[in-house]
Symmetry: C2
Subunit: 425 residues, 2 copies
């Protein structure tokens, strides 16, 4: 007798969703992967797209191509509107979909905290269009600075504020500082670059809060060497489109505020209210099962697995999502076979961040190091993590050009970007 | 005594404008180059961006980088609104600019002929955003075809009509046919690709009207080999957003009509009415001087130099623009020195077009050839014509990947594209 196959629906083609679907490739289940985009993107290198170091095509890869040979994995580009757990159904932009098991791997979104009401005035880095907008905005402002309109001061047009001293913030600030030092004098010889300041604001007392003291203090040194004004214990209070104000009432005149200050989960609608934990994440148990509903799992940034050691859930990192995806594939098969599942245990292989050429910090469990070797390790790991041979080669080549010429290869304003409402009255 | 330098303003950073500014690099004049974009793009390869063969960054190059070492050339990103010849002034989006000599190199724009009123329903290839929209639109429709909505038939969603059998039309149609044959079966195994037809409509009796009989008939063979339905003597009459109708009243159901049927000049406002010739081009004499005004020149697609041999002006080709730019640089210096100028004489080095892998046609003056060697020549010439070392290498690499894997490297829907008004009632 022919039995219909169990259908596993995965929402989100980020690190977790992709890893899970890959690990299910040879299992006797049907896998349906859904994402609102037709590509997987490598979020940790988004700042490179924003600063003209890499093309979007180098850090993104069509989902269909990843699963070309996987006969049991299909992909649909769709937005998920709601889950109806009691009917085992998903409402989506392409109609209703049935699941036997559902895995929510929808990741995280920007968290604007007290800046929610002015979010249209901020630049962000969470998706490829956002990164391209940021790139266009910075280059447009430099062009604008040359035409000397009296409406805004040169400082306002050229200054840049980066809010947030996590990996995204410091990597972006470092790349901008290098652009200012090495690229802009060549491309904009008429501009007085001494009028351009790059400020970085971190609310806590240290940069890279989740990393070691060494990484934290070394990255501060690196940023200052590059000419960034780093402010610690600096809570931003308000932004009116021209001035960003801190809690201590100091302010900085700038058109360009880049928000990397935080993310929160991006759960789907329809889950029981009490399954949503702090930070908008979905509370899961050690098997990544969502609290209070049947047959629904969550992995990656959107999932919070609370333990005594991690009372806020595990950090929002690609390796966590990937390891959860890999284990969940096995656990789902166990579950279907009515065998015991295995509890998740995060294996921390280390964390790293790069600030600029030959300036990176690496924390491994047993060894923490910084500098040129850290930078080489960072490059190697990131290139190898890109999906597809073509992307690895092109990214490697672009970085070599960058390294030897001190140039960023890309600086096109393909689609000019305007912040939504300049005056906020 | 310090004498103020003569100021030459060039409007447009296409092939003509760039070549002219380059040739003036060491002359004792100030050159101001203006373009609405901050990059120069390689128009002949636009169809590669549209079909996912190349990244936009490979065929475009920031103007400022081309002139980094040219101390007397500056660039401004601006839109030109009007020229006021009697005051030697240009009105632009960044204010009024004075010139001693003005060169209009604004190129050409899409010519919709009888389709002007439905142009928002057509897809075009004239700029990088247009090419990216086309790429997104085709991939979105394939995704849509999978979800089987009953509103539109599968054929309507998947069929493609290309209007125009010039180089742009046949190169695009060929690339689409190869994509259909080699890429889509791998990426969309669930789709019934036999329902997808690609039709090419050419109003005249032959393809590649400006090329030789051999090139024309061989390209027809190539397109048919690739499965394209080619219609000659086929004048399109109307499009309602779902059906394209020909003058003979036959019709073809399709959501995707790609318009490559013609271009017209894109002159600036403010020139005397009688200087505008057929095809919206500016009439110039043998020195590229605009009829009826002083100190204003026009080169490239926007200029029509009428001779007995070329009663409609020279063809709208990159080499014409480049040669005119090069000569005009010398002539402007001669003019400033009050010496005689040299009349322009176009040196036709040949024309070529490619239809697919190992399928290209080349017309040289003394030798016309087609096939693999023509294709290699085409690739070599086009790669060498790209601006910048990085772009040459990346394009070469992408084409090698394409050649050996039968794959198009890129297929991301970064910014989904919607035609403006789907129903045209």
């Amino acid at each position: 007798m022919l039995k219909e196959k169990i259908r596993i629906v995965i929402v989100g083609a980020g690190f977790g969703g992709i890893e899970l679907a890959k690990a299910l490739r040879k299992s006797p289940v049907d896998v349906l992967l859904i994402d609102q985009h037709n590509y997987h993107n490598f979020q940790p290198l988004m700042y490179q797209v924003a600063t003209g170091g890499l093309e979007p095509g180098s850090i993104a890869y069509p989902v269909r191509r990843i699963f070309r040979r996987a006969k049991n994995v299909s992909f649909r580009m769709a937005e998920v509107q709601e889950v109806i757990p009691e009917q085992k159904k998903l409402k989506t932009s392409i109609g209703e979909l049935h699941y036997d098991y559902l895995v929510i791997a929808t990741g995280s979104q920007n968290n604007y905290f007290n800046f929610e009401s002015v979010k249209d005035q901020l630049l962000t880095l969470k998706s490829i269009p956002e990164a391209l907008n940021l790139r266009s905005f910075i280059f447009q402002n430099l062009e604008k600075a040359l035409t000397n309109s009296a409406e805004e001061s040169l400082e306002e047009i050229m200054n840049i504020a980066v809010v947030g001293g996590g990996p995204a913030g410091i990597e972006l600030a470092g790349a901008l500082a290098e652009m200012k030092r090495f690229v802009l004098p060549k491309d904009f010889p008429e501009l007085d670059l001494s009028k351009m300041s790059i400020n970085l604001y971190e609310a806590s007392p240290k940069l890279l809060g989740t990393m070691s003291e060494e990484a934290s203090s070394k990255s501060l040194d690196y940023l200052r060497e590059l000419g960034i004004n780093v402010f610690l214990n600096a809570r931003v209070h308000a932004y009116d489109g021209s001035n960003i104000t801190l809690e201590d009432e100091s302010s900085f005149r700038t058109d360009t505020v880049i928000w990397t200050a935080g993310v929160k989960g991006a759960p789907v609608k329809g889950l029981p209210q009490d399954s949503i934990f702090g930070g908008n994440r979905i509370e899961v148990n050690e098997y990544n099962q969502v609290k209070g509903v049947d047959r629904i799992f969550a992995i990656g940034d959107v999932a919070a697995h609370i333990t005594r050691e991690e009372p806020k859930g595990l950090p929002l990192l690609a390796p966590v999502a990937q390891q959860q995806g890999k284990l969940l594939a096995k656990n789902l098969i166990q579950l279907i076979r009515k065998k015991p599942m295995k509890a998740f245990d995060y294996l921390d292989k280390g964390v790293m961040a790069t600030i600029g050429r030959r300036k990176a910090v690496v924390d491994l469990k047993v060894w923490k190091f910084q500098g040129t070797f850290a930078w080489l390790v960072w490059m190697f790991v990131h290139i190898m993590s890109l999906v597809g041979f073509r992307n690895k080669i092109v990214a490697f080549f672009d970085w070599m050009v960058n390294y030897f010429t001190y140039d960023r290869p890309l600086g096109l304003i393909i689609r000019p970007y305007k912040k939504r409402n300049k005056s906020l009255d």
